[in-house]
Symmetry: C2
Subunit: 355 residues, 2 copies
């Protein structure tokens, strides 16, 4: 969970969105697509997904320029039933593919109660919560699955990384309370956290990774020699596999040995798979009744007895929501390293830098 | 996972089913309902779910006789859309409710690609895998969620058990390989395992439970003073909450403080909630193509490199499948304590005992 620092001030979302749009247009995207993608990337930063938002822009641009992503795609529905569809993303930026998938899932849920839309030939699409939360405005529950963009997780008992930190997110609407939004990978630690420890010269706690002997690996500089550990031992392995099958194999997208490392192989299509479901609350009861029940449960949980030393019990997504409110008012924090990488990108693309 | 003991021999499934049917008829169920329920309970034992099958019969009979469960229910669909329905179980045995729900979900998936059916006023229905595997025969993926029948899990940071070991199961069809079946609770240990440790006079490993100070609780005889721990810390808490909302609150079934302990309050309706989804593989591609891809992935995983000392990499559900094959041929094991409790039940109900 993101730790909220109320003292942070940063770049206004509109400014950041304009900069990202400029960069994506310079990298070859049509204006409308660039603007939509920029809005989604900044939305990730606003919610506190610092590792999955604008920080990825230089990599995205590198992939676009290397031909690893299609800047002018024809995203199309290749299989369509009343409540299920499969989209071929034509190797577009994943955000554009999954935005289209979410819209289609919502339309199907309006008509039949639920919509499930899978995508193939997509790409990294930012944080899972971005799409799981899209159905909320329609009084729908959102469920999202994705195949991770590289493999760092072996099967339980194994030492060959055939699986990824395949994320899932579920968003459930509330009335006066923030929606419940669970966004998680089935590994103890995300790989981004390992990289961060390495950058900071810190050790990892035991339980994050193991080495080829199955012993705890705590030096993040040696991460290439080791493997992430799943949550709940074989349970997290099972979750990663199931998410991979629903988001990948079922959509004829990459899974297992076919997964392309999107950082290392910038010129190669990843055939990333994702899936989103929208489930209409009104199919069960008036939406307000449900949302009131969710509020009630949220308050029961928040006000329940705490262990010694625990100041507050949080609901999934509550801290991200607080971050969202803060950053909408005070802007997105811009650490020095991020600012420098965006300035370098601006020079490289010959566009106006972020002010 | 169940450890397979190839030396076990036991009672033939047909004999056990006939006995359970007799007992349920004596407890007031119509013959057809009793036979269907018995078949499902024995199916749980056949797959190795020893804690969720016939061992529960005395409790079920106690609840039926105490009026806690309705032996002559009118199970009916109270909300119906093309791809979503809500069933009111009229406080029937959960197996009968969820069997009906699975049939309806499969029919909807045939018509529209996916069916999602929730249930309220249901009861304990045995292992989650029982229902998640029902769509497999129709080339569908099955997804099942349930609210656990008592609360042993606090919110993360809390010490008030507002949540249960809410299980989920997902079943994915394969071609020549056994289907992939993940059946898991979001806690490190199931409560049944804690009870088993107490019976055997063994200690629990740290990580299963904590006490009211948040310290590891390892004496299973003190389980009432403690709390189960979720997998992956706040992640397992989030999973339990989400599963509870999808299976409980969304169906106007019990969740949080409303959950009735079905062991302690045998005369009280539990309003248990469950949900099942069936997703048609043919909506995405010819089923054989998908199942071949699943076989391929299964073999890649099984044959991948192992950590030192690991003899075999298992797929989720593979050991249960091996148990099923063995028990179909050699019968369901009948430990002395179980045999005695079934004999006592037979005397109590004045029915012919298990031979």
């Amino acid at each position: 969970m993101t730790t909220l620092n109320q003292a942070e001030t940063g770049v206004a979302a509109a400014e950041l969105t304009a900069f990202v749009t400029r960069a994506l247009v310079a990298a070859g995207l049509p204006q409308d697509d660039a603007a939509k993608l920029a809005q989604l990337m900044v939305a990730a930063d606003l919610r506190g997904s610092d590792t999955h938002g604008v920080i990825r822009l230089p990599l995205y641009v590198r992939r676009l320029r290397a031909g690893g992503v299609n800047a002018r795609p024809n995203i199309r529905v290749i299989s369509d039933r009343p409540s299920v569809a499969l989209i071929d993303g034509d190797n577009a930026m994943g955000h554009l593919v999954m935005c289209r998938a979410a819209e289609l899932a919502i339309a199907k849920a309006k008509a039949t109660g639920i919509g499930w839309v899978g995508a193939r030939m997509s790409n990294h699409a930012g944080p899972a919560a971005l799409y799981a939360t899209m159905p909320l405005a329609h009084d729908m529950i959102g469920i999202y699955f994705a195949v991770g963009s590289n493999n760092h997780l072996p099967p339980w008992g194994g030492c060959e990384s055939l699986l990824g930190t395949n994320p899932m997110a579920v968003a459930i609407p509330a009335l006066q309370e923030p929606a419940i939004v669970l966004d998680m990978a089935p590994t103890v630690a995300a790989y981004g956290k390992v990289r961060l420890k390495a950058q900071r010269g810190e050790q990892m706690p035991p339980g994050w990774m193991i080495d080829r002997q199955g012993k705890p690996l705590t030096d993040p500089k040696r991460a290439d020699e080791g493997y992430l550990l799943p949550i709940g031992d074989y349970k997290g392995y099972g979750l990663s596999l199931i998410i991979g099958l629903l988001a990948g194999a079922l959509n004829r997208a990459a899974l297992g040995r076919n997964v392309v490392d999107f950082v290392k192989e910038t010129g190669k299509a990843t055939n990333t798979g994702q899936a989103i479901a929208a489930l209409s609350v009104e199919s069960f009861m008036p939406a307000t009744d449900f949302k009131q029940a969710v509020d009630h449960l949220i308050r029961d949980i928040r006000n329940s007895q705490r262990l010694p030393g625990v100041e507050r019990i949080w609901l999934p997504g509550e801290q991200s929501h607080a971050t969202l409110l803060h950053r909408r008012a005070h802007g997105v924090p811009m650490p020095k390293a991020l600012r420098e990488s965006l300035d370098a990108l601006a020079r490289d693309l010959a566009i106006a830098p972020l002010e």
